[in-house]
């Protein structure tokens, strides 16, 4: 099976019903995307499929064929952080950071759909991504920063 991950073509041998997250983490060593709940409830595994934020633990890998997959590892370009990463770093959002990759991918997905979201739109779009450390106010602040950039 062929996948397009972070602008690179990768061939994978996992069974078609294996979750995209498992293929990324176990087969391709792209461990940035995290396993949290395995039920699509926490958002730690969020990646972009053709620019849309999805829960990679709920996507069978065959469903990701012929789509552009973007993971946290693909955001940096030529050693330069993505503006959303810059903003999250500047605001120093995270505590334990386990939710960080999923949170950032969800934020990138949001800003690709809506470059200037209102606070309500940010909260609504990010509602499915859980941060148990409770850094939500800083997450909202960082997304606003990124929208300005």
């Amino acid at each position: 099976m062929e996948l397009h991950i972070n602008s690179v073509k990768r061939t994978v041998g996992s069974a078609p019903d294996t979750s995209l997250l498992q293929v990324l983490r176990d087969e391709l060593d792209l461990t940035g995307s995290k396993y949290g709940c395995g039920e699509g409830q926490c958002g730690a595994c969020t990646v972009l499929l053709d620019g849309v934020a999805v829960r990679s633990c709920r996507v069978p890998v065959e469903g990701a064929q012929n789509k552009q997959i973007t993971t946290i590892e693909g955001l940096e370009q030529d050693g330069k952080l993505h503006p959303v990463q810059e903003a999250f770093l500047k605001v120093d959002v995270f505590q334990c950071g386990y939710c960080a990759p999923g949170m950032i991918m969800a934020a990138v997905g949001l800003l690709q759909q809506n470059a200037q979201p209102s606070e309500e739109q940010i909260i609504s779009a990010m509602n499915g991504n859980i941060c148990r450390c409770g850094t939500y106010p800083r997450i909202v602040r960082a997304i606003k920063e990124a929208a300005k950039a």
Binding site: C96, G97, A100
Partner: protein
């Protein structure tokens, strides 16, 4: 507890012994430079924790609690048994040391929660890291600063008042010469116990400690590069899976593991209620565990709808007081107000629910067991593993990479024990996620 403190205080002559032990360990570990260790006060700090250590832990607690080392290569390393679970002590403890040593925060390397490298610590809980470990490291760093100034005074045969310290260098203001900490300590192996009367930098003069600084490993976190336990991989590593009970208090009556055992590359461990498998990949492990058809004996448990009433009816006698409890004002006076509102709120009965699930990677090598696991008590898990596998503690190393939160829910080391059991049977490293 006072008696215990007195008993330990009465053993002050053993301090020197402990220093000698740490000196040997330290030099073996680190080579030359300047080192500061903690001795007696750790016992007090440990005894003041809410979760009292076991007697076996107390026996070692009088030795060392945290180390500070400044190498000939100018690297400043802090060794502490405290662990990082998102409270950001990797940064805030480094700030405390950086302040006293007059160096940037980034120049401090924190080695945390590795039982082979750090001195004993009872655990990271009860919001004790900042109030107990912070002041200890502060005194250690101040002690190291005094040692450096002594060395510099000897080197230049100068009065200490003519020396200043900034950016990892000691400057002789008389002749404008300067030496880095490493240059100053080259070829030496200096070890001192932390000085109780170390001259601390007054808080009103703080430039680094007590200020808001960026998380030291923030870049790794936002790029997904930070390696959590579940991200670790060893050559030949297998993936583990455990047969989980369907209900609280269930016991296993029967489990036919023949089909799982027949699968290629699958190792099955069956001991009482514990059934686990290890397989070359996660899918194979999941398939193997699904092939086991267990019969569980369960007892009725309260449902989610019933749990509140159940807990209310079955609660043990409430304890009065408790940590942080204060009492002031009058309920009766308050309820005598003109208007009162009465409402009852229920929240779900939930546990800690850290974002990173419990995980462990275990490896046996030449009879020594190494386990990487997210735990608030690396030394507690080391004890548990040593007991379970009848090993000397020295044969067990627990390493705690910065972990995806805990909230008190990672005191125990079940995942570590399970992964170690599977790895022992498989004779290969096993990761359990």
């Amino acid at each position: 507890m006072m008696e215990e403190i007195k008993r330990i205080a009465g053993q002050q002559e053993q301090q020197q012994l402990a220093v000698n032990q740490s000196r040997r360990k330290f030099l073996k570990l680190l080579g030359g430079g300047i080192a500061v260790s903690f001795v007696l006060q750790d016992a007090f700090a440990l005894l003041s924790d809410t979760d009292a250590p076991t007697p076996a832990q107390k026996a070692t607690s009088k030795q060392v609690g945290g180390w500070l080392h400044i190498g000939e290569d100018d690297v400043i390393t802090v060794y502490t048994g405290k662990v990082e679970v998102g409270q950001n002590i990797r940064t805030s403890l480094a700030q405390v040391v950086a302040e006293e040593l007059r160096v940037p925060v980034q120049s401090i390397k924190m080695v945390m929660g590795d039982t082979d490298l750090v001195p004993y610590d009872a655990g990271t809980f009860g919001s004790r890291s900042t109030p107990s470990m912070g002041p200890q490291l502060r005194r250690a760093a101040a002690t190291a600063r005094a040692m450096l100034l002594d060395q510099a005074a000897q080197h230049w045969k100068a009065d200490k008042n003519s020396l200043s310290i900034a950016d990892g260098k000691i400057i002789n203001t008389r002749n404008n010469e300067s030496l880095s900490f490493g240059q100053l300590t080259k070829g030496k192996a200096l070890l001192e116990a932390v000085a109780e009367d170390a001259a601390l930098t007054p808080t009103e003069q703080w430039k680094i400690a007590g200020t808001s600084v960026p998380k030291v490993n923030g870049h790794d976190i936002i790029t997904g590069r930070h390696t959590f336990v579940s991200d670790l991989k060893l050559p030949g590593m297998l993936h583990g899976k455990i047969l989980r009970a369907p209900a609280f208090g269930a016991s296993l009556t029967q489990a036919d593991v023949a089909a799982a055992k027949a699968m290629p590359g699958v190792v099955v461990v069956q001991e009482g209620n514990f059934v686990g498998v290890a397989a070359p990949d996660r899918a194979a492990a999941e398939k193997a565990i699904a092939a086991i058809k267990p019969i569980w004996q369960t007892t009725p448990q309260p449902s989610r709808a019933e749990i509140f009433d159940y807990l209310k009816q079955n609660a043990s006698t409430p304890r009065s007081g408790g940590r942080g409890s204060i009492s002031q004002g009058s309920i009766d006076a308050g309820l005598a107000a003109d208007k009162t509102l009465k409402a009852t709120y229920h929240i779900d009965y939930i546990a800690h629910a850290p974002m990173e699930p419990r995980a462990a990677l275990a490896q046996w090598e030449n009879g020594k067991l190494t386990v990487w696991t997210g735990t608030q008590r690396p030394f507690g898990v080391q004890d548990d593993l040593a007991r379970a596998f009848k090993l000397d503690k020295e044969q067990v190393r627990v390493i705690m990479p910065d972990t995806g939160s805990a909230y008190g829910g990672k005191h125990s080391g079940e995942a570590a024990l399970e992964a170690a059991r599977l790895a022992k049977a498989a004779q290969k490293p096993v990761k359990l996620t």
